[in-house]
Symmetry: C2
Subunit: 460 residues, 2 copies
Amino acid sequence: MILENALAGAAAVARAYGRTTPADRAAMLRAAADALDAAAAELVPLAMAESHLAEARLTGELARTTFQARLFADRLEQGMLHEVRVDHADPDWPMGARPDIRRTQVPIGPVLVFAASNFPFAFSVFGGDTVSALAAGCPVVVKAHPGHPELSRRTAAVVAPYLPDGVFALIEGEEAGRAAVQDPRVKAVGFTGSTRGGRALFDLAAARPEPIPFYGELGSTNPVVVTPAGWAARAEEIATGFAGSVTLGSGQFCTKPGIVLVPDAEAFLSAVPELTVGPMLNERIEDGFCAAAGEMAAAVTVARGEVGGGPVLFRSTAAEVLKQPELLELEVFGPAALVLEYADVPEALQVLDAVGGQLTGTVQGTDSDPDAPELVARLVEHAGRVLWNQWPTGVTVSDAQQHGGPYPATTAPTTTSVGTAAAARFLRPVAFQNVPEAALPAELREGAPGPRRVDGTTRP
Amino acid sequence: MILENALAGAAAVARAYGRTTPADRAAMLRAAADALDAAAAELVPLAMAESHLAEARLTGELARTTFQARLFADRLEQGMLHEVRVDHADPDWPMGARPDIRRTQVPIGPVLVFAASNFPFAFSVFGGDTVSALAAGCPVVVKAHPGHPELSRRTAAVVAPYLPDGVFALIEGEEAGRAAVQDPRVKAVGFTGSTRGGRALFDLAAARPEPIPFYGELGSTNPVVVTPAGWAARAEEIATGFAGSVTLGSGQFCTKPGIVLVPDAEAFLSAVPELTVGPMLNERIEDGFCAAAGEMAAAVTVARGEVGGGPVLFRSTAAEVLKQPELLELEVFGPAALVLEYADVPEALQVLDAVGGQLTGTVQGTDSDPDAPELVARLVEHAGRVLWNQWPTGVTVSDAQQHGGPYPATTAPTTTSVGTAAAARFLRPVAFQNVPEAALPAELREGAPGPRRVDGTTRP
């Protein structure tokens, strides 16, 4: 769609769409999800042709995408997105008489979404950012990723009939994307992609006369620590699990384990089975992978594979990279990881303190591991999700999920881009003081259903 | 304190303070609040001398300040700041087997707070930003406001003994403040003040190599709409209430009603009783007030009082200001308001759509007012708090409070700087996947007390 039409349409419909009921929006999300599922036979082959990803992966990803839309629909119907708080008037409130005050969440306004290349369904046209903004009551303009243009257009064509005019639009082109970030009708941006690209758009959003929230999910190296006890007890399981995770989706996941801290690098590398991957998403991604791998190879040893395409493992020591900490933030997007041997757990902790903001951090240990509590606590300081004896690739969509973290993992560390809490990015709290029932939103009226905090007490 | 000492201390203690229990932090907040109350006889006269505010107001403000600290302590003890979500492992989760995943909130790291001039207690050294960050588990460096330097130093001296070394520090000077915003050890900023000053600091925070959240509460003109029915039924009550609100604290409140839309300006102005105020906070504020009032007087009629100090009411029409919408965003910080006569309610709604982001919006009407629902709904689009038949000055501190709004009211429209939800600005969600009990934070263990969302259901 022409950018001006997309923005004008979103602005024109924002009020009416913002006033639809949660049940209305749930019905729209379900209808669009059903239509996508029904179009799988058309969409999956299109995605295969444009992304080089395998059929099973794409079929699964589409199922995840429509599940995600229905989960938001469920939560809308359960009244869970409003985070209602009611404080009744209280003449004896210790700081002075309290008026009746009630808090709900309202849509922030039209949202611009930048689709990602590596999840042509789940983080693209009708992906997590789009459905969380639609659930919140915001019109959405999606900037298509050039990696899968035809799939983007077809996906848009499939879902659009189930959304009111103006509520959903697809635009294409980098220039249109940059112009949209700066347009006063756009009130928030969701982005998934590279640190360089995301930071440039973040800077545009922050420099506007009216700066707006920019929710960018950028780079992450996702450190994994194998404890001495874990390695002693579970070497084969760990080496095999690592091989599966680093090559999943040809390593093209933002949660790919890019740094592995091990007590014995030689033993670890010997135990890692053969690494095999499919083709990469496109030439641009492959070029970026080779360039970053080359940069890494200039600083450390290539221990497995070779730079120039295909899986590659690098090797160094904790002591060495602590002298070149920039290597810890070098994301080699693709099937590659840096294996670091540490001398003792305090040295591994030092490395964790130098890795920068992360989407995930993982400990591989044993049930009674003496090092576990401190390693977990330290990863919490740097990552949005901390895993124990599992691998960070594969992000479940649920209420408790957190996909985010300190910069550069994201530009908004207090938010998530996966899970039902993602809708909060596109909601703005409003308090109603002394407002009569007839003028209150339905969820704030006395006796309205749904969880709420009333006079300091949580009510289910 | 010397800036480097303050920042080094905060960074050094961040881990240990972040790991204190909510009960530990509640005890510290209570002890500091008790000490402040006990020092009232010393602090209130100091505040009077430096701020020109009256004793009763300052005594009340100190009580509000210590109440606020104790309210956060209450909520810490009730386990309400963690917003816990638990999703147990579920092999039948529709998108694929779900691991055990549990979400809590962790401190974001050292917080920098810029104190305000107009609330020397409640938005200053131990004010809302400070106590919400301390409650969240973040060390705080406060940049003192130059309007009350001695009070700031004494307040700091009174509370510091109750907080661990490094957890609290006071710095002074604009240059130190700017340097602190840019320091990598600072992870979030709270600010209350002017749009110009706040925006300059926001820009610094956004331009850092690691951009950080900047929670700035800037300018607001707080529109009030008097409905035709409201004016017919409650003219005297409305005119008297307005006079009280526009002069409260000599008009030096961010929630002062700065724009009043009335059906009959002549009648409204005649009904407003005499406006009297005390001295302004300081010469700088008074100079700013006179300059902004002069700017307004150049564009519209001065209907009451005169520019050059003292209360002043301006008068124009909705139709006229819609031709100069910049007047609707001109905050005259002090005892002044712009009275606008509207021809009909749709014209008043047009003005509301042009006022920009607001902390508050108010309707003065009647119980069965036909115009109320649409006016309330329209104000919701632009303001963080919407009032009915009350006045926006006087902001209660409670769970449901929302003090924020779209830019320029704040730089972070999804957050509040007053009320218990203010702590969320300084908390970052973390999900724990498959982590054994011993390595989980206490609030995430099975059977832990406190409200939570478990497998999609809210539990009190």
